[in-house]
Symmetry: C2
Subunit: 200 residues, 2 copies
């Protein structure tokens, strides 16, 4: 693959909110993408701190049902309509990938390399971002649509109980995906000359 | 491009320490990669907080010279040899890409969306990780070698003064790159069944 093909994939990865369950990709293929991404995405000192929970079908529905119930308890009733619609949109997808960072792995690095102790939590977040990006882009190349959501830490306790998540796994993000039923929205771009400097 | 080609690029992106200045890629092409990556890598609420400084040739050499001098002042003299060799290895490359996050963009989000104020710095770090990853992988596909270094915050002040970096740009990482003169080292992998859970 050329860098140009890669950059074309970078351009076509977008936030897709409009999803259905009618996907054309097998669960096995999605799991293979997740395995390859988790295995090969870099981490500080090769600490491999990323953890992932993949939910398909009814388990996916259950995640968005429990998130809806948690939000219903805290969002004012007269403002819940749009929240409920947003939840319904995610639930309309086929599955969700949940991203965690294992704090036991981060703390092991801190104990082993005390002079970098303050840095490891930050590098762990950067590495999680890389993994989210890799899976997002690969799903898009398989014809799926996805977005990145952050209902942590509101849902952490319920997720932990429901899917037996170890205490040390910290929830970072949720990525609902499915068959895209509408194109992405418009996106505005700041001038690149304000964002990039070059010194030849 | 297929997801399989993309995952092949994901597998081949590795840390390359052994670099020379004999690159087969133009500075224009490298700048194009940086522009496309900065433009299309996602950020929280499309805040586009990432900033990049690209150093080629003598400017690249200057970065590693000033980093060496800063380290010489703090690393014990009898332990400086390996540090000096590491610095020489980075300097032997052709260029360096420096990654920043503009805290003015992060603070603007915090002011606009106070209920997420605590989250934006973390999401900014995740987005920076995504950008580092995109450029790293694209450089590798162009036949270059690169690695990710973190001499911030030690070098922040000198970098700011030398290249006129705005006060609000926070340095996150440095990516020296060049022509790869040796293959990557071995890499160990934890069992994936300890890192991934699937609930069908």
């Amino acid at each position: 693959m050329s860098a140009s093909d890669f950059l074309s994939a970078v351009r076509s990865r977008r936030t897709i909110y409009s999803l259905s369950k009618e996907i054309q990709v097998s669960e096995e293929r999605i799991q293979e993408i997740v395995r390859e991404a988790v295995k090969h995405t870099p981490s500080a000192f090769n600490s491999q701190s990323a953890r992932v929970l993949v939910l398909f079908g009814e388990q996916h529905d259950k995640l968005w049902d429990l998130t809806t119930e948690i939000l219903r308890a805290i969002v004012p009733a007269d403002k819940f309509e749009s929240t409920g619609q947003r939840m319904g949109g995610f639930r309309a997808g086929y599955g969700t990938i949940l991203y965690f960072e294992d704090q036991a792995a981060v703390e092991a690095l801190q104990a082993q390399f005390p002079s970098y102790a303050e840095r490891f939590p930050t590098w762990s977040q950067q590495s999680s971002g890389m993994l989210q990006y890799v899976i997002w882009t690969a799903l898009e190349l398989e014809g799926l649509g996805a977005s990145l959501q952050h209902y942590n830490p509101l849902i952490d306790e319920k997720v932990r109980a429901e899917w037996g998540i170890p205490e040390t796994w910290q929830l970072i993000a949720q990525m609902p995906f499915g068959h895209p039923t509408a194109p992405p929205g418009d996106k505005e771009f700041k001038p690149l000359e304000e964002r990039i400097k070059v010194s030849p």
